[in-house]
Amino acid sequence: MTPLASYLLVAALLFSIGLAGALTRRNAILVLIGIELMLNAANLNLIAFWRYGPHPELLTGMMFAIFSIAVAAAEAAVGLGLVIQIYRHAHTTDLDAMNRMKG
C-alpha cells in the first residue's frame, strides 16, 4: 500500500461521507456542508497526486487545488445566500418539504 494509495483512500472515504450527508440530511445547509466535504476530498486527491506524481516542479496539482479552493469559496457564498433567500420565502430549510416542482 503506497502512500499515494492511502491518501487516495482517505480522499475517497471523505468524498463518500460528504455524498452520504448530501443525499440524506434534511437541512439544506447540511447538504452544502456535504458538498464542501466532497470538494475538499477532491483537493486532497489533487495534492496527493501532485506530491507523488511526476514533475511536481510544474506545480500543476497545487495550482489546481488553489483554484479549486477559491471557486469553492465563491460557490459556498452564493449557495448560502440562496439558502437564506429560500428560508425567507418558505420559512424552513427542510428539503423534503420543498417539492413544488413535483411532477
Binding site: 502512500p3 494509495a5 482517505v10 461521507i17 440524506t24 456542508i33 495534492i47 506530491r51 488553489i66
Partner: protein, 166 residues
C-alpha cells in the same frame, strides 16, 4: 505509512463523520471546521505548505464562518420535528456506499501502476506567484471574474426584497 498520517487521517474522517451525523446543525458546522483543519494538516504533511495555509485561511476562516452565519440566520440551531435525516435516507446511504466501493476498488486495483515516492519538492511562494502570472494567468483571470460575479450574485440573491416591487 507514518503514524502522523494515520492520526491526521483519523482526525479528518472523524470530523467528517461528526459533521454529517450530529443533530445540532451548529455542532455540525464546528465538526466541519475540525475536518477542514485536519485536511490542512494533511496538506502540510504532503509538503504543500501554501495549499495548507490557503485551506486554513479560506475554508476555516471564510467558509466555515459563512456556514455558521447561515445556520444562525436560518434558525438551524433548532432541532427539527421530523428528524434530521430524510425518510428515504437508506437509499442515499446505499448510493454513497456504492460510490465508495467503486472508488476504493479502482484505487486498490491500480496500486501497482500508481506513481512511487519521489523526492520532496521544494515549493516557494515565489514559484507559485510566477506560476500564477505565467503559466496559469488565464485561470487566474477567470477565477477573478468568477469571484466578482459570485460576489455580486451573492449580494443580489441575499438582498431583502423591496416592499411593493417585484
Amino acid at each position: 505509512m507514518s503514524f502522523v498520517f494515520y492520526l491526521l487521517a483519523a482526525l479528518t474522517v472523524a470530523g467528517a463523520f461528526a459533521a454529517m451525523l450530529l443533530k445540532n446543525t451548529v455542532h455540525c458546522a464546528l465538526a466541519l471546521t475540525v475536518a477542514f483543519a485536519g485536511l490542512a494538516l494533511l496538506f502540510l504533511n504532503l509538503d504543500a505548505q501554501f495549499a495548507g495555509f490557503a485551506q486554513i485561511l479560506v475554508y476555516i476562516g471564510a467558509v466555515a464562518i459563512l456556514v455558521v452565519f447561515a445556520i444562525l440566520l436560518t434558525r438551524g440551531s433548532e432541532t427539527p420535528r421530523d428528524g434530521v435525516f430524510s425518510r428515504t435516507w437508506f437509499v442515499g446511504l446505499l448510493i454513497a456506499a456504492g460510490v465508495f466501493a467503486t472508488l476504493s476498488w479502482a484505487v486498490l486495483q491500480s496500486v501497482r501502476v500508481l506513481p512511487h515516492e519521489t523526492a520532496v519538492p521544494t515549493v516557494t511562494v515565489l514559484q507559485i506567484g510566477n506560476a500564477l502570472v505565467g503559466r496559469f494567468v488565464l485561470p487566474l483571470e477567470i477565477v477573478a471574474l468568477l469571484l466578482t460575479a459570485a460576489t455580486i450574485g451573492a449580494v443580489i440573491v441575499a438582498m431583502h426584497e423591496k416592499e411593493g416591487q417585484q
